[in-house]
């Protein structure tokens, strides 16, 4: 009884600031995006919010968001996947070779996700069955292996020219003549629709299925998950396989967008993916983060790059800024936690 009363008292004494913390925790990142949009709109009123530029941002982030979503699930289990940038390149090269070999477009389309799936499963099996001490090591190894294989099968040269059906995925336009009248230039990129659908599916998966719940439980306390009868190794293999599969879809989108497979595809994009996940509020120690946060993290990276490009800020300054934002985002999280534990 006395406990309940004490808690009631505490609640009335909580300052407005403290009571706002859960609100910021949930929606702070969307607020940050709105602020960025507002500032960039003021700086570039004619260009930034134009239909052309906004669709451009979405087309740019669509393939990167697939990597971020996959890496996010891995990070929720307190793991890491450094190989997604190489998986995207290998699946892109596999797709290009299948296309060059004259396979029908629907087979070519399946090649990239299938290669990603197998690469991810290879990571997962290595981490669990081979008892690698940390996913960092396994996926660092496959970062080299997958890109090496990609260069071996392609001879290290770009391959260009894919079927129209492949190009539509990364570059297609859904015309909005119905809304804007005949011959209007406004459109929705196919890749944006694909991105929204996939994010929605994975939101359902992580929040409304048992396996999704177990992924969070493993990140929180793998011992508890085991004691609850959950086959932790099997779930980890599922997670890494899905991560690879998403990177393969990223490869498919990239193929459509660039109409070519090139040796440097996806180079260092694993780091962008990790950055987006961390900016989106996921904990590097596992068990924490949301799909919406990942989406926001990806958008922040995309909007920032786009905005800085529009203002002709050099790539070097962009690197400095993005790095600073990663550190700042995590530091805000540290501060928030300090305040939360003090109450």
């Amino acid at each position: 009884m006395d406990h309940g009363e004490k808690r009631l008292m505490d609640k009335s004494q909580e300052s407005l600031f403290v009571r706002l913390i859960p609100f910021f925790e949930r929606y702070g990142i969307l607020l940050l995006i709105l602020i960025m949009i507002a500032v960039l709109h003021l700086l570039q009123p004619d260009v930034f919010l134009s239909w052309r530029n906004v669709t451009n941002i979405f087309k740019q982030v669509s393939w990167q968001s697939m990597l971020a979503l996959g890496v996010f699930m891995v990070i929720v289990t307190a793991g890491i996947d450094l190989s997604v940038g190489s998986i995207i390149m290998l699946s892109l090269m596999g797709l290009a070779i299948a296309s060059k070999a004259g396979m029908p477009w629907y087979v070519v389309m399946l090649v990239a996700p299938a290669i990603g799936f197998l690469c991810g499963m290879f990571n997962g099996i290595g981490i669990t069955l081979l008892r690698m001490p940390h996913p960092f090591i396994m996926t660092l190894g496959t970062l080299y292996i997958f890109r090496g294989i990609g260069n071996l099968i392609s001879g290290g040269v770009p391959i260009t020219g894919f079927a129209e059906q492949i190009r539509v995925i990364g570059n297609g336009k859904i015309k909005l003549d119905v809304i804007f009248g005949e011959g209007a230039r406004e459109y929705i990129p196919t890749s944006l629709i694909l991105m929204i659908v996939i994010f929605f599916i994975f939101w359902i998966f992580l929040n409304h299925t048992r396996i999704g719940k177990w992924i969070y439980a493993i990140g929180g306390n793998p011992g508890a998950a085991r004691a609850a009868g959950i086959n932790v190794d099997r779930i980890l293999i599922v997670v890494y396989t899905l991560c690879g599969f998403l990177a393969g879809i990223g490869g498919l989108i990239l193929a459509g967008r660039t109409n070519s497979a090139y040796p440097n595809a996806g180079l260092q994009s694993e780091l962008d993916a990790i950055a987006a996940v961390i900016i989106g509020g996921a904990s590097f120690f596992g068990g924490r983060g949301t799909v919406l946060g990942v989406f926001a993290g990806v958008m922040i990276m995309g909007i920032l790059r786009n905005g800085l490009n529009l203002m002709n800020v050099s790539v070097f300054w962009q690197q400095v800024l993005i790095g600073s934002i990663i550190i700042l985002a995590v530091y805000i999280d540290v501060l928030r936690r300090q305040i939360a534990t003090r109450t």
């Binding site: 808690r7 409304h208 048992r210 177990w214 929180g220 609850a228 009868g229 959950i230």
Partner: protein, 248 residues
């Protein structure tokens, strides 16, 4: 022996290579009874619990659930027979809410077409009912476990163990890591389980625990049955003597 027997171990021995952890140990437990198991470190208490829960296979001897002889191949087998273990390290995921922890691995689901989705409403309702039944007070079933005190966490661990109508609950040092003021709440919870007809085995070093909740106490010494008594026929000093291997 009484008709209420729910669990019995007969001359159980457990060898690890040349080491004898248990030698011809007997144990019995009645319905709604709280049995205290005491003994010095290395006396074989934890080994005995692991044999009862199916984590270890006994080298010799046999186990009886409801007077039927059983062979346990894993903790899953003992769970299916209605025996749950509350682990010393609690085995909870701090990042998940209370309800998720209680139902972890056994989540209620509902079917939508060919897919099974989590039934959040049902889980919340079952959690609230179960917590109320055990008289566990928390702000909300949605509170994350990491926000709870040590005693509340222990209560959640016990709630988890009893959520599926367990008939027998094993607890290894349930009050060891708790602040003094929280010990009483956990002991109340054990008495509550007893009232609900659950049989409990408590391993503890603390005589206060034993003499507050137990009906009977048994002492192991160097892997063997050393002494046993109804609680009302013994005293703290005598039980402490048993732990040190002294008998009058």
């Amino acid at each position: 022996m009484s008709d209420n027997l729910v669990l019995e171990a007969k001359s159980v021995s457990k060898f690890f290579g040349t080491i004898t952890a248990l030698q011809n140990v007997d144990l019995h437990l009645n319905k709604g009874e709280v049995l205290g198991v005491v003994g010095d470190n290395g006396a074989g208490k934890s080994t005995l619990m692991k044999v009862l829960s199916g984590l270890y296979k006994p080298s010799e001897g046999s186990l009886f659930f409801d007077k039927e002889k059983v062979t346990l191949n894993s903790p899953r087998d003992s769970q299916n027979l209605g025996l749950e273990m509350v682990y010393q390290d609690l085995a909870l995921a701090g990042n998940l809410p209370i309800g998720d922890n209680i139902f972890l691995g056994r989540e209620p689901t509902r079917k939508v077409g060919p897919f099974n989705f989590l039934d959040h409403k049902k889980r919340k309702q079952l959690t609230e009912e179960h917590l109320a039944k055990l008289k566990i007070n928390v702000k909300s079933a949605d509170q994350k476990v990491e926000e709870l005190s040590g005693g509340q966490r222990q209560a959640v661990a016990i709630a988890r163990a009893t959520a599926f109508n367990a008939k027998i609950v094993l607890m290894d040092e349930p009050t060891a890591a708790l602040a003094v003021k929280e010990v009483g709440k956990v002991l109340d919870l054990i008495l509550n389980l007893k009232k609900l007809g659950v049989s409990v085995i408590v391993i503890s070093h603390r005589m206060d625990d034993i003499f507050t909740v137990c009906d009977r106490v048994m002492a192991l010494f160097q892997g063997t049955n050393f002494a046993e008594s109804e609680l009302k026929n013994t005293s703290r000093d005598e039980v402490i003597g048993w732990i040190m291997g002294k008998k009058d």
